[in-house]
Symmetry: C2
Subunit: 207 residues, 2 copies
């Protein structure tokens, strides 16, 4: 039977991932030692490294799930009609932020971001960066949709503006995860304030 090996493999993969996410949530990323993860999964340390390139790779699975879900939710928001630019942006960005702590703690986000900056050549970083770009593109898409519907002025460069807005969203999210005190509502309020002038200026005036 040639399926035995494959089945064991899939089973171990699942067990390791389960053990890792459990431990990450329980004791935090840094304090979760590979040795502990391996033991909880019932394998040796060496085997862990046969299944995952390194400790950081374990995070990517979670980050990826998180972002994929929020991208889907974002598409649904773009499809709807919107009163004005500020509201539309707040809705999309609010969805990003509201969803952000579903699977990942602030500490896990910090680790993921930190890794993606420190080692840009790794698959981890490249996957992370790719997800970021898809989010950025989604903000551009929203602005273009608003323009098509006559909410945003025709002379506005949607991609340039979308990137500007998204990079601010992203940078503010970094500040958010760096500060354990800050809550999502405070974050959303700050970003809304930062977006307000641009949102107002880029709107088609209706008076």
């Amino acid at each position: 039977m040639s399926g035995l090996r494959a089945q064991k493999k899939a089973d171990k993969n699942r067990r390791i991932l389960e053990a890792a996410t459990t431990l990450f949530r329980k004791v935090g990323y840094d304090s979760a030692r590979i040795e502990d993860i391996a033991e909880m999964a019932g394998v040796s340390v060496g085997t862990f490294y046969n299944y995952f390139k390194n400790k950081g790779d374990m995070l990517m699975a979670t980050v990826s799930m998180e972002v994929e879900e929020v991208l889907a939710a974002g598409d649904a928001i773009i499809a709807r009609e919107h009163e004005d630019v500020a509201t539309a942006l707040s809705e999309l960005i609010g969805k990003y932020y509201d969803h952000s702590l579903t699977y990942l703690s602030k500490e896990m986000w910090r680790t993921a971001m930190s890794l993606s900056i420190a080692q840009p050549e790794t698959p981890f970083s490249q996957r992370y960066t790719a997800l970021d770009h898809r989010l950025s593109k989604q903000v551009c898409d929203l602005i273009r949709a608003l323009q098509d519907r006559g909410v945003v002025r025709k002379d506005v460069d949607c991609d340039a503006t979308g990137e500007l807005v998204f990079n601010n969203v992203n940078m503010m999210f970094i500040e958010f995860v760096k500060d354990e005190e800050m809550d999502v509502d405070g974050l959303k309020a700050s970003v809304a304030r930062q977006n307000a002038p641009l949102a107002s200026l880029m709107s088609v005036k209706t008076d």
Copy 2:
């Protein structure tokens, strides 16, 4: 003589810092081992840790010098008159970017940013964040100066806009240091493009 101890201390501090920056530049931050730095400075590993809290602390001295200099240069730019918003922003931001690789390599920037995100409670991160905020404030100051001179519309929230612009500048800088291929000119061009719509919209029209 009570100056002997103080003098030796200052001397060692300088020697360690010198050795560290030399090695960081020669072999990169990660490959520069504490043992090597200590040896080059003529002290033991333990002594290194009497002078610096950890390896990351060594970077902060350099980052700090870098940002202090660029802040001073930025003030000089704000003091000057400017044709239009886009040019003024490009000049200030261009100065930031041009100066950025004077003391630090991309790898050193990555490490510094990575550390500041990963361990926000540390003095390192807090100093880094404080420098970031001063830069952000400087962009706000520029926009306010332009507004006072009648270049920017009176109804624009300078702080909100300045933060938006700076966070984009910062995020783009992260992309820049993550990508060894990207050069400063490409970075400046991208940011100029992103700023263009906002710069145009917030300008007092002169037709």
